[in-house]
Symmetry: C2
């Protein structure tokens, strides 16, 4: 699964720490999401999408591998 977190974040010149604070997770969580270490929970996905004013589907790119959970 891919995300546009880093892309949107950089476009808006926001640091990982600022985003982390905004959605109330640790900086490590943002790093891990951006680097594909794991997938966001539904609520976190929603908060990040909301923060950037886009839908979850626009922020997170589901691919065929996501047949598994």
């Amino acid at each position: 699964m891919q995300t546009r977190i880093a892309q949107y974040r950089k476009e808006r010149k926001i640091t990982q720490e600022e985003l982390a604070d905004a959605v109330n997770v640790t900086r490590q969580t943002i790093i891990s999401l951006e680097n594909g270490k794991y997938k966001a929970s539904l609520v976190l996905a929603h908060k990040i999408a909301q923060f950037f004013g886009v839908t979850i589907e626009e922020m997170f790119i589901f691919d065929r591998e996501d047949e598994n959970l």
Copy 2:
């Protein structure tokens, strides 16, 4: 967090088991989601929304309590 899973499912006269099979989880997972025992993962949310042809945001209703993850 609320969901419209049961609502959409009943509208289309689909059983929990049929939905479970369609999105490749167990029947217990569907029951638990419908009864608010826990929240879907992002990928499962996506698969359920896709199955019903709606967006994740339309299928899952985020409320203020969802400040936490």
